[in-house]
Amino acid sequence: MERLRRHPELQAWLILAIPVIFLLIFFMAPLLIVFVYSFLERGKYGGVEWVFTLDNIRRVFDPLYFKTFLRSFYIAIVTTLITLGLGYPLAYFIAKSPPNRRGALLFALMIPFWTNFLIRTYAWLTLLRTHTGLINVTLMNWGLLSKPLPLYGNDFAIILGLVYGWLPVMVLPIYAALERLDESLLEAARDLYASSGKAFWRVTWPLSLPGVVAGSMLVFIPSLGAFVTPAILGGGKSLMIGNIISNQFLGAHDWPFGSALSMVMMIAMLAATLIYFRWTKKSESSL
């Protein structure tokens, strides 16, 4: 006991031992396996041959697959921008509501988020499907359309599904930043002859940037790695990197290539995260 008390480091490791060992075995080891597999040859029926090769990494950059990679980036970026465009005013609206109503509005925002993602995607499937979706069926019944709109099985459907799925995650950090904002700063800006528009761009927006950046990261990363949304709303035609990865395990039985794809994807995300931290640090120091 005496020894423990004098050596807090020993105490820390005693407390951390079980969770750390658990994650080392069931998270770090799997991560390592993916890394190692990326450099091995595929086995005949799934599995791997223990022969070193760079072919898998090379194949990731083969135009056939790299195009999907770039498309996934494109979809993730567009999704993030649209979510930001929709989310910022919503966060602003909640932050400007009377304090006694804000809790209820946040609650209302979070309910869809805590609803199963799969179900929310499915809900859009029933609305968007080309011939049997509610939107096209209704519009055609009303005679507003002669042939159905292409709402399903394309990038539009995927982006819509992703925006819908991740909008609350964008709103929360922006709201948190806006809510912290001292009202008297805006009054000071107005006092110093700023119009309400100028006051927004010179005071509110820069001070809410950390929230914007955090929200954007929280939307961008899962959008880039999306699997469920393109699987359901992509209609088997419009695919993202997540689907290509899963195909290597479910259909093609090319584990090393699947591993290489996920490695590159994770590295891309790590890079994005690092840029994010750089950026927040810079924007914080500039404040």
């Binding site: 407390i15 396996i33 005013p89 609206f93 509501s97 209302a108 469920v228």
Partner: protein, 296 residues
């Protein structure tokens, strides 16, 4: 009166302008919430549709719910989901709380590395995590051995790999929520306890733990919800033939859209809603007004 007309009209204009700003913001707010809720609402409505279609209304019926509760596969997947969520929540709450205590309360060499390790499962997309675990279970020989258990009369066979997979991502979420609570906690309270003759264990038991409880409960509820909702990791780590409710729903969607899926969805929605309400009621009860943090 004596105010020049020019100023009056300017006044009115300013008034209209500021009112319009407020109105357009409110209108936008209403539209945004409509965007969030309409798809879900339509989904629920069509679970009562007296036809196979989910886009043409043909009258009201409870039939799809009846069919759902007669579907043995769905019932089994519900039990699987519940069992999996309960077991993985218990384990990950214990592990996550320990991790939070160790990481928030101590400084030691290699802390940054351990810290990052606990954030990674949150950042990594579930598809990457899923295939990582799939390869690991394949390679390690742990495989997809099921845990055969009788759970409230339902005979379940839940692969250990799925339980471990759920714990692996939930632990980090619990750790983050509990850490946030710990960071807010006033450390002099613990000093006060030791000043009042409490030893390390008594201090933890009587002061730290009760103060931490809202965070732990919040973390557990978050883990439970994430576990119930998870599709991707379960799908890839279960091997063949094991269904949770989301996995079952995914399979059904792939086969074709029917109001029965809407009925299952409505059920899941009701469960999520109940969980959120419970978490909010609990956070109110915890007394000191801090809300239980549900993620992020």
């Amino acid at each position: 009166m004596s105010v020049p007309a020019r100023f009056q009209s300017n006044d009115r204009w300013q008034q209209i302008k500021s009112k319009m700003g407020g109105w357009s913001l409110t209108t936008y707010g209403i539209l945004a919430f409509a965007f969030l809720y309409l798809p879900i609402l339509i989904l629920v409505i069509f679970s009562f549709n007296d036809a196979r279609s989910v886009s043409k209304w043909a009258g009201f019926t409870f039939d799809w719910y009846g069919k759902m509760f007669k579907d043995g596969q769905i019932l089994l997947s519900i039990w699987n989901s519940l069992f999996l969520a309960i077991v993985s929540t218990i384990i990950s709450t214990v592990l996550g709380t320990l991790a939070a205590l160790g990481l928030e309360r101590y400084r030691f060499r290699g802390k940054t590395a351990v810290d990052s390790m606990f954030y990674l499962p949150v950042i990594i997309p579930d598809i990457a995590m899923a295939i990582m675990l799939l390869l690991f279970f394949n390679m390690s020989g742990i495989g997809f051995t099921p845990w055969k258990v009788n759970f409230f009369g339902a005979r379940l066979a839940v692969p250990y790999s799925v339980i471990i997979g759920h714990v692996a991502f939930n632990t980090s979420f619990v750790a983050i929520v509990v850490r946030a609570r710990l960071a807010q906690m006033d450390r002099t309270l613990e000093e006060a306890a030791s000043d009042l003759y409490a030893n390390a264990w008594q201090t933890f038991r009587r002061v730290t733990l009760p103060m931490l409880m809202p965070g732990i409960v919040g973390g557990a509820l978050l883990a439970f919800t994430l576990s119930l909702d998870d599709f991707v990791i379960t799908f890839f780590t279960s091997g063949a033939g094991f269904n949770t409710l989301p996995v079952r729903v995914f399979g059904m969607i792939k086969k074709g859209v029917t109001p029965k899926i809407n009925a299952v969805s409505t059920l899941m929605l009701a469960v999520s809603l109940t969980l959120v309400v419970i978490s909010i009621l609990l956070s109110r009860r915890s007394g000191d007004g801090d809300s239980v943090q549900m993620g992020f």
